[in-house]
């Protein structure tokens, strides 16, 4: 039960990463595995994490909204901000 929970937590951690953070972690993992200084068990875990990160990054890239939101000095928009809609 505990192992499954840990896996889910990991997934949530990754899905909260920004693209920049994810790429950084991914680069680190690839380097670590390529250098080979890491024990087999750990490398399997890291490999899994790396694949999850790649999936996450690709997911971010696929999201294209292609629209612009307008903001200005309007007090109307300021109100919207405090309500957290931007």
């Amino acid at each position: 039960m505990r192992v499954n929970m840990a896996k889910n937590e990991k997934k949530n951690d990754i899905s909260n990463l920004s693209f920049e953070q994810a790429i950084k972690e991914l680069t680190g993992i690839v380097n670590k595995i390529e250098q080979g200084e890491i024990p087999l068990q750990d490398s399997l875990e890291q490999y899994e994490k790396g694949m999850a990160l790649i999936k996450h990054c690709k997911g971010i890239l696929q999201k294209a909204e292609a629209r612009i939101e307008k903001i200005s000095l309007d007090s109307e928009d300021r109100k919207q901000e405090t309500e957290g809609s931007i």
């Binding site: 690839v30 490398s43 292609a66 612009i68 307008k70 903001i71």
Partner: protein
């Protein structure tokens, strides 16, 4: 001598000056352009500027009224060669004429260009263009703010260039005027506004831009107020102003410059295709490397399984059994040896003892013992006999002393019956007491005292 009534006209000072003024102003074109070098430039606190124009031989006093000076875009200073446009006027009360200038044009370089160069020099000296101050543009921005005209072509160029490269980014438009008076102030205010609200807005980078135009059209992007707002911005700013050849002060202050709005995308966001290729590349590297490692691990396992230990696991046990047997043999051998040695020493001891001929010694001792015994017995017998004799003698003596022996001679013993005590005197008895008399042979007679 006669006093002539002459027709010589006598003028007052004012009249003369007034005449000169008329002549001067009528004979000269109402507007002149004069070329010369500025000297004695003085900005009066009233806002009017007093100066002179000179050439090698002559000096012309000038003034620019404050209202006209405001239109002068560059900073006039002594030594600058200019074209001055205006009109000559004579101020009657002072009797002096001045060239009233309403337009100053720097000779050689255009006014705007000169003003631009002066502004660049000034701001560079203050460090506004320093590389060290420029903030890095985030590599993978998620939210970008665009400051440009809502209706201009630049907006489309910017958004298109961004979306073709990196469609996953969110764009925000903050409409601003991009030319005309006050545009610089409004853009500056917009930048400050966005900075203030950025905790909520979370913009990663701003793009300030407009399409191409003349130096005049772009002039607002050279204004100091905008430059300072860009310098002070905490959010990194990319400037995307005009065409490639147009460089504005804003371009120099900004953290990055896109030479035109269409190039804004290249500065602001990465190329998605490149990033996808990089991701695929990483994916492959990971996969191949892992495959390699797993294969290697598998090989190493196989090698281990193929080794003698796994092929013939009992080998070790057999070897140990052999060792054990050998040890057992060694053990029993050594025990046997020990026993044999013990036997030997025992035998040797026996021999030693035999050599001593203990039986002979014993026999000898036995003789001696017997002798002693015999002597002891004899001695004991002798002693016993002795004692026996002594005893007999004593017994005889005693028997002789036995008081009861006299009884045989007729004597008797008289006792009181009550006490069985021997009578020795009359006092011991009374008349009537019973008496026992013992005669020889243990015979007793009982009697009574009748008289004493």
């Amino acid at each position: 001598m006669q006093r002539k009534t002459s027709s010589v006209k006598i003028y007052t000072v004012s009249e003369i000056n007034g005449l000169i003024k008329e002549v001067l102003e009528n004979s000269l074109p109402s507007r002149l352009t004069v070329s010369g070098q500025i000297t004695d430039w003085k900005l009066h606190h009233s806002g009017h500027c007093y100066f002179s124009l000179k050439d090698e031989n002559s000096v012309l006093p000038c003034v620019i009224w404050r209202s006209n000076f405001e239109d002068v875009k560059f900073k006039p200073e002594s030594g600058l060669a200019v074209l001055a446009v205006g009109s000559i006027e004579l101020y009657v009360p002072h009797g002096r004429y001045k060239f009233i200038v309403d337009e100053l044009i720097p000779a050689g370089v255009g006014a705007l260009q000169l003003a631009f160069e002066q502004m660049v020099k000034k701001l560079r000296a203050e460090g506004l263009f320093d590389e060290a101050h420029k903030k890095p543009i985030p590599r993978y921005p998620e939210r970008i703010g665009i400051l440009t005209s809502e209706s201009g072509a630049a907006l489309h160029d910017i958004t298109h260039s961004i979306w073709t490269r990196w469609p996953c980014v969110k764009l925000f438009l903050y409409p601003v005027p991009v030319q005309g008076d006050g545009a610089a102030e409004q853009i500056a205010a917009a930048i400050r506004d966005l900075n203030q609200r950025n905790k909520k807005l979370r913009l990663d980078v701003l793009i300030v831009g407009r399409g191409g135009g003349s130096q005049d059209d772009l002039w607002e992007f050279n204004k100091e107020v905008l430059a300072r707002a860009i310098y002070d911005s905490q959010i990194p700013i990319i400037s995307a102003v005009g065409h490639e050849v147009d460089v504005t002060v804003a371009d120099l202050v900004a953290d990055a410059r896109a030479s035109t709005p269409t190039k804004a995308g290249e500065e602001a966001v990465p190329d998605m295709q490149e990033v996808l290729a990089d991701l695929s590349n990483k994916e492959n590297r990971l996969w191949h490397k892992m495959k390699g490692r797993v294969e290697l691990a598998g090989q190493s396992l196989e090698t281990t399984l193929a080794s003698a230990v796994f092929r013939n696991p009992l080998l070790m046990v057999r070897n140990r059994e052999l060792d054990l047997d050998e040890l057992c043999v060694t053990l029993s051998d050594s025990v046997k040896n020990a026993v044999a040695r013990a036997k030997e020493s025992l035998h040797w001891a026996y021999e030693q003892i035999v050599r001593i001929e203990p039986h002979r010694l014993l026999a000898g001792r036995m003789l001696g013992l017997n002798e002693l015994r015999n002597r002891t017995v004899a001695a004991m017998k002798a002693v016993f006999n002795n004692r026996q004799i002594q005893l007999t003698a004593m017994a005889n003596r005693l028997a002789g002393l036995n008081p009861k022996s006299v009884l045989g001679r007729g004597y008797s013993i008289t006792m009181k019956k009550q006490t069985h005590s021997v009578l020795r005197s009359l006092a011991e008895i009374e008349v009537g007491d019973s008496l026992i008399t013992e005669l020889a042979g243990e015979n007793f007679v009982e009697s009574q005292v009748t008289k004493k």
